[in-house]
């Protein structure tokens, strides 16, 4: 039941955070992609997209890591990541990293042209005439800066969430403002990162939503931490978990702490 050309051969870029912290997001992505008709493989040679090195200015290590990713995903027709940030790194930054390298630049560009953020991809290929799942809660949605600005993913997650039975979306105010995560920024500038996140958490609480949903686990972990600090009852899930009907797991930094 495709709405676009048939996807067949998809490489799942799991992302290092999902691999380490929340495998259920990876499994949810897997189910959703299969539901969209794809044959999905998560190649075993993947580690990370290299952003910690890249954003720290260590371009030489970032290049080495990027080469591994390019090789690991060379054989897939499409590459999908459950993260705007990692997909943005591959699509937007890999070609930039290799702009002076005539061997790797075309390979980086080629991978970039095949890489998608999960919601962007599902929006293309998933049949939304039937409900995807059921989730009887009010939620609010956090747009990650990378999804919103680097990938241009804004409408797609909302459209997908619209195909979940019982779900009510209450939009967050000031949704174009960063949540303060910023990868290693949240460690190097922890106090600042917490303060920015607290402002976001106030806005989340203002929506009176029961659940915070987003497409980037980094942002979600940051906000889950601050929500917990503020003794909030708001639960936090990755959008893949909601869409795949897998939100019966405890939320990010929920009662599993």
């Amino acid at each position: 039941m495709m709405t676009d050309t048939q996807p067949c051969n998809v490489g799942l870029f799991v992302t290092c955070l999902v691999d380490l912290m929340r495998p259920s997001v990876g499994f949810a992505a897997l189910r959703l992609l299969e539901r969209a008709g794809a044959q999905v493989v998560a190649p075993n040679t993947q580690t990370c997209c290299g952003q910690p090195a890249y954003n720290s200015g260590d371009f030489s290590n970032a290049r080495e890591i990027a080469k591994d990713v390019i090789e690991a995903f060379e054989s897939f027709e499409h590459v999908v990541a459950p993260s705007g940030s990692c997909a943005g790194m591959i699509r937007g930054q890999y070609p930039e990293l290799f702009k002076d390298d005539s061997t790797w630049f075309p390979r980086a560009q080629n991978l970039a042209s095949r890489t998608f953020e999960l919601c962007e991809y599902l929006d293309k290929y998933l049949d939304l005439s039937e409900p995807l799942a059921s989730f009887n809660h009010t939620i609010t949605y956090h747009d990650s800066c990378a999804s919103r600005r680097e990938m241009g993913v804004v409408d797609q997650p909302r459209k997908l969430l619209g195909a979940v039975d019982g779900l009510e979306l209450k939009e967050l105010a000031d949704t174009e403002t960063c949540c303060g995560f910023g990868g290693l920024f949240s460690i190097k500038f922890a106090e600042l990162s917490d303060t920015i996140a607290n402002t976001k958490v106030d806005l989340i609480k203002n929506t009176k939503a029961e659940v915070l949903v987003g497409g980037d686990l980094g942002c979600l972990m940051k906000q889950a931490g601050q929500l917990k600090d503020q003794k909030s009852k708001v639960r936090v899930y990755h959008i893949a978990e909601i869409l795949a009907g897998m939100a019966d797991e405890p939320g990010v930094e929920g009662n599993n702490a």
Binding site: D19, F27, A53, N61, C178, G183, S193, A257
Partner: protein, 464 residues
């Protein structure tokens, strides 16, 4: 002998500056109010009244690109036209040379006081300190600049230098410095404060020997400088004294009046949401015999201060900047730490690109790193500068220079070594998940308890 006059940088102290700002409740309230409800909303409103806003941005970007590609030609044309209009052009290689030129002009007319229009470029060259050292009294005439001059503080924002200060603080400052006035006067209303500053400044405008302004644009075809103000103080500064010195950096050049007009339509809208600033002042040369008024002498100090080093290099695009402040107004970091934490003249995203160039990466390596790479600055930049890309170039240079150092660098190296070896990485990932789960509430940085097992292990184990 050249002076070294640029202000002493405190960028290395960013973390302490940020900490102090975060602990200052009054400042936090002020920032939230002035940025989110102020500048950001006003920009949106200004944009919404101009359907061709996006096309105008493209046009502005293209004007800047073209001008920078032909900068030498336009600079020479500008010089010729200033001379034709009866002015003098002084080429200043750096901050020290610029200050020396200005001091010499002041000396030539035995200046005792100079009035100043708001100008970031004179902050960059540290002019006020040099004037004072020569016994010349500089008087800032922009209200914000006047307030911070009384308080002996640097500006915290490039277009709203005193926006970190509340009206109550301004009242206290005025009580302290305007000693002739009644101590118990009512200063609770902003209009009263403005009236008082205006009264104080009026006499100073009339008695100043030299007026110094910056320049928002320098128009090559006519040798005309342009300044925008909302108070008209720039006009009084440049037309009342017998000498007007305008200081402009080389990238302020635009080819034609029409180009300046295009950029002016964007500048105020992007900065404050105004269609135009209240005053837009064009000045060309000295007073002519037929003019009613104006300065007897007009000097234009054209400052390079290593901007030409940026031309054609990786940071070239930063020279497109028209100093509207939009990147600053929308930066989540600036929105919490305000301007002083950045430790030098230019704060926010644009400052974090310019400052390392001016003060060196050893001093300023934290600035380009104090950023979440959210990309909002690029989104709002009227001349479409890819600020995050330029910030990342500085991160690369900082890394090459050894920053971050110590443990942070070691951790990064170990992580990168693992990330390049998938087999070893799997083992370490397994261990980390185990360790983090064991650590319980001792987990650092709000790391949640990992769900258990790594995805790759569970996936390879056949889980679906």
């Amino acid at each position: 002998m050249t002076l070294f006059s640029q202000p002493n940088p405190q960028c290395h102290d960013f973390l302490n500056g940020a900490h102090d700002a975060l602990a200052n409740d009054r400042l936090q309230k002020q920032l939230a109010k002035s940025l989110k409800d102020g500048f950001q909303k006003k920009r949106l409103k200004g944009m919404s009244r101009l359907p061709e806003y996006e096309q105008l941005r493209d046009r502005a970007r293209d004007i800047k690109i073209h001008t920078l590609e032909n900068l030498d030609l336009y600079l020479e044309q500008f010089e010729t036209q200033v001379i034709n209009a009866g002015g003098q052009v002084h080429w200043a290689k750096d901050d020290g040379e610029a200050c020396q030129i200005i001091l010499d002009i002041c000396d030539g007319v035995k200046a005792k006081t100079v009035t100043k229009g708001k100008s970031m470029i004179t902050e960059e060259i540290g002019l006020n300190a040099q004037l004072k050292a020569q016994g010349i009294v500089p008087i800032e005439t922009d209200l914000g600049e006047y307030i911070i001059q009384l308080r002996d503080e640097p500006p915290s924002h490039i277009i709203a230098p005193a926006f970190h200060i509340s009206k109550e603080q301004v009242a206290d400052t005025f009580r302290q410095h305007h000693a002739d006035q009644k101590r118990d006067r009512d200063l609770s209303e902003p209009t009263t404060l403005v009236h008082e500053a205006r009264t104080e400044l009026r006499a100073k405008f009339l008695s100043a020997d030299v007026g110094i302004t910056g320049a928002n644009f320098l128009i090559a075809e006519s040798g005309t400088g342009v300044i925008v103000t909302n108070e008209g103080n720039g006009d009084l500064t440049q037309s009342l004294p017998s000498v007007h010195i305008a200081v402009g950096s080389i990238e302020k050049i635009v080819p034609t009046l029409e180009d300046a007009d295009t950029l002016l339509r964007l500048l105020a809208r992007t900065a404050t949401g105004q269609e135009l600033s209240v005053y837009t002042t064009f000045f060309s040369g000295a007073k002519r015999t037929t003019d009613m008024d104006g300065p007897e002498q007009f000097h234009l100090v054209l400052l390079d201060n290593r901007r030409s080093d940026l031309l054609g290099g990786p940071l070239h695009d930063v020279l497109r900047c028209i100093r509207c402040g939009a990147c600053i107004n929308h930066c989540p970091i600036y929105g919490k730490v305000s301007g002083h934490a950045y430790g030098w003249v230019y704060p926010g995203p644009i400052g974090s690109i310019l400052t390392p160039h001016f003060v060196g990466v050893d001093e300023a390596h934290l600035l380009p790193n104090a950023c979440t790479m959210c990309g909002r600055c690029e989104e709002v930049c009227p001349v479409r500068i890819a600020l995050p890309k330029l910030l990342r170039i500085w991160r690369g240079r900082a890394f090459e220079a050894g920053y971050p150092a110590g443990l942070q660098r070691l951790a990064l190296k170990i992580w990168a070594a693992l990330a390049k070896r998938a087999g070893l990485y799997r083992w370490m990932a397994r261990l980390s998940v185990f360790g983090l789960r064991l650590l319980g509430p001792l987990r650092p940085y709000h790391l949640p308890k990992p769900q258990g097992g790594t995805f790759m292990d569970r996936y390879n184990g056949g889980e679906k």
